[in-house]
Symmetry: C2
Subunit: 207 residues, 2 copies
């Protein structure tokens, strides 16, 4: 069955919330309580969870530890994902130090940049190569996913040089521009200025 993107996003939120509730010692949680904590309708929570089998207990709710494990399985990788990061600027560096990344599930193995000051060194303990050698390095290191944090004017060129690698499966694009890729490569965009503009658009509406 095909699971909708919005559902997957919420599964991550449920997973995160359950880790918190578990750490706080809570044993059982209802769809209503989860909804309240995540600003979602209880029926939405139940519908999302129902796609993966009956996991709750009627009249009781969901067992926190059990549901957490269940979601962990759904979201778990076939093996630890190997990622590379292209563009070790401010944002790229911030992501390298980002605490919320789940280091059991994936790791940033390789960096790329075009700055010769950075190339050849280790940054946060991760080797940095020149972007021109990306294809060979990505193949040699079995990189599955690239995080792209380059300026928008460099984005498509970077993409064009990395999509030729045959092992690459996905790109998380932070560059504020649309990139064009072959259809066998998945792209998700994290577009910070789009999110800010959306917020400002609706803030304006309610004034």
């Amino acid at each position: 069955m095909k699971i909708a993107e919005a559902t997957v996003a919420r599964l991550v939120l449920y997973h995160r919330l359950l880790a918190k509730l578990h750490a706080e010692g809570q044993k059982v949680v209802s769809s209503q309580e989860m909804g309240k904590l995540l600003s979602l309708k209880a029926s939405q929570v139940r519908k999302d969870l129902s796609y993966f089998g009956e996991i709750g207990k009627r009249g009781v709710g969901y067992h926190v530890a059990k549901l957490y494990e269940h979601l962990d399985d759904i979201l778990s990788p076939p093996q630890k994902w190997r990622m590379g990061l292209v563009g070790v600027g401010h944002l790229g560096s911030a992501l390298l130090g980002y605490k919320a990344f789940d280091t059991k599930k994936y790791g940033i193995e390789i960096l790329f940049d075009n700055d010769l000051e950075k190339v050849g060194n280790e940054i946060f303990g991760i080797p940095c190569y020149h972007i021109d050698h990306a294809c060979r390095i990505i193949n040699e290191n079995n990189i599955d996913v690239i995080i792209l944090t380059v300026p928008s004017n460099a984005a498509q060129d970077c993409v064009d040089s990395i999509v030729k690698c045959n092992g690459l499966k996905g790109i998380l694009n932070f560059s504020p521009t649309s990139i064009i890729v072959p259809e066998d490569i998945l792209v998700y965009n994290v577009d910070i200025s789009v999110e800010l503009e959306k917020l400002l658009f609706y803030v304006k509406q309610i004034m």
Copy 2:
């Protein structure tokens, strides 16, 4: 009329694309061409633009400069938005130096942190205050929107102290946690690990 969130997001993409086409000297563009450049259906582009009146020319397409101005108006603020940023860590600092922010439309006026090394200083030329004084400072400086880049365990406390300010209208939340706010305050979440997890979920599916 209520404009859907997905439409607003695409308007920002159109606006950005038109700036680029304009800079490249292109005079006219069709919905088909815009769709191709942004990986969207032509009919989607036309439908989105049609919500704001007839702006294209049948048989010709859209006049680049005119459509750009049109979108500029739609997305323009009533005045330059005044923003504050809470949490001057790696991610917060990266955003302070972020090139893609449209500095004509909004500016980051004030910073907040709980690190006494930062409080009282200017960072990137912007004064930094202690988070405990957020409410007074936000009111005094007429801050409309807060960018929240604090660790997840601090997020709700920060939110609770800033939502009491009466001028605050919206929060752009980068913390990897759900925050609960009064209903008159708009929240948009930029959840980096959720986006990465979504990508990895679908990468797994196609393997």
